[in-house]
C-alpha cells in the first residue's frame, strides 16, 4: 500500500472515524478545520501526533509543525517521507 493510502486507513482506524472510508478522504483536502468533512478536533490532532510517532518514528511536537504537517494527506505524507529515521 502506498503511504497516502496507509495514512488514510490509519486515520480512520486510530481516530475511530465512523461512516468514513479511504475513498472519502481527498489527498489535498484539509484534514482539520471547518473546511474539512472529517470533523476532527484538537484531541484528534494530539492523537495523530502519537500515531505518527508510533507508526513512523516521526515526531510532530509543536503547533507550528502540526499546522504544516496536518494540512492535508499530501502534506503529511511529505513530512513523514522527509523526516523518517534513516531518510
Amino acid at each position: 500500500m502506498d503511504l497516502k493510502s496507509e495514512l488514510k486507513e490509519l486515520i480512520i482506524r486510530e481516530l475511530k472515524l465512523k461512516n468514513v472510508v479511504a475513498e472519502d478522504i481527498e489527498d489535498q483536502g484539509p484534514l482539520f478545520g471547518s473546511e474539512s468533512k472529517l470533523g476532527l478536533d484538537s484531541l484528534d490532532a494530539v492523537e495523530l501526533v502519537v500515531v505518527v510517532q508510533k507508526k513512523f518514528g516521526v515526531d510532530i511536537g509543536d503547533r507550528n509543525t502540526a499546522n504544516v504537517a496536518f494540512a492535508s494527506i499530501d502534506a503529511l505524507a511529505d513530512y513523514i517521507t522527509k523526516n523518517r529515521p534513516g531518510s
Binding site: K16, E47, Q53
Partner: protein, 345 residues
Amino acid sequence: MKPVGIHGVGTALACGAGVDALRIALREGREAGRSEVGLEGLEDFIPANRTRRLDPLARMALLAACLSLRDAGLRPDEASGRPTGIVFGTALGPQESTFSFLEDIIGSGDACASSFAFTNSVHNLPASNMSLALGIRGPMRTVTAFGHTTAAALLSALHWIREGVVERVLLVLGEECSAVMEYVVRRFGGGEGNVRPFAPGCTYRSRGGCAAFVLGGGDGPYGRLASVEAGLSEAEAAERAAGSDLLLCAAAGRADEFNLYERLWASHRLVGAYSPVYGSLPTGPGVDLAVAALSLRERTVFAGPGGAWIKGSAVSGAEGLLPGAVAVAGVEGPGRFTLIRVERR
C-alpha cells in the same frame, strides 16, 4: 422534606439493555451466565460519529442513561430542557482505557502514550461524555469509593434536587468488566459457573453493567426514595429495613458474605439477592435499586433464578404480596451498611 422520586430507569446489563430485558430476566429466572453486556443500540439515541471516541464504560453509561431518559418519556435532546445534574458512581473505573494506555507505553515506548486512552482513563469521562452527548450543563460528580459508592452518589443527587440546585439528576452506577478483572477474580477464588449469593466459598462472577435513574421531585412511576442512609451498623440497618415488604441484599458471591449479612437477613421475613441475574458488581446496590423500582412498579416480587432466594420464597412467602416498600442493603465495610428505602403509595 421534598420528596424525590424515580421517574425513569435504564439498565445495560448482562441480561440485556433496558428495564424490559431486566424484567423478563427476573420473571423467567434467567441467570447472567457468561453473557457480556451488550452495547448495541446507542446509535438509536446518539449518532455514531458523536460517540466514536467513547470507551466501553462511557458507552455503557451513556446507553443506560439514554434508556432511563426514554423510560421517563424524554428524548436525548430533551434532557437539557430543565436544570439537570449528573452523578456517576463506579468502583473500578474505565478498564479498557486504563490498560490500553499501559499497553502502549509498555509495548511501544513512552513516546507512544495515547492521548485518547489517557483521556478516557480519567474516571469522570463517562459523566463528561454524557454531558456532551445530552447537552447537560448542571453540576457533576463522579464518585469512586467501593462499597460506599451507591450511597454517596444518591446523597449528592438528593441534596441537589432538594436544595433546588437542579430539577433532576441523571444518576448512573456501573462497572466495566475486563480480562484483568476476570484474572483477579479467578485468583481470589472465583471462576466458572453462576453467582450463588451466601453460598460457601467464592462464587463471584464479574460481569460489568450499568443502572441509570432519572431522579426528580415528587413521586415517580417507580415510587420515591424514602431514605438513603450510610454508615449504619447491622442492627440499625435491620431496624430501618423492618418496615419494608422486601429486603434486597447486594450480595455478590464473595466468600465471606454469609457472615457479613447474617444478622440483617435473619431479621427480615423476605430477603432476596438477585445478583445471579446480573453478575457480581461492586456497585451492586445500584442494580438492586433498579430491581426494587421494578418490583414496586409491577407490584410484584420477582421469582428470580433459583439462587436468588435467601429467605421466604416466591411461592410460599411472596405469592400474592403487593410490595409497597422495598429496602436495598449494601455492605460498605466491616460492620457498616448502606440502607436505601424506596416506597410507592
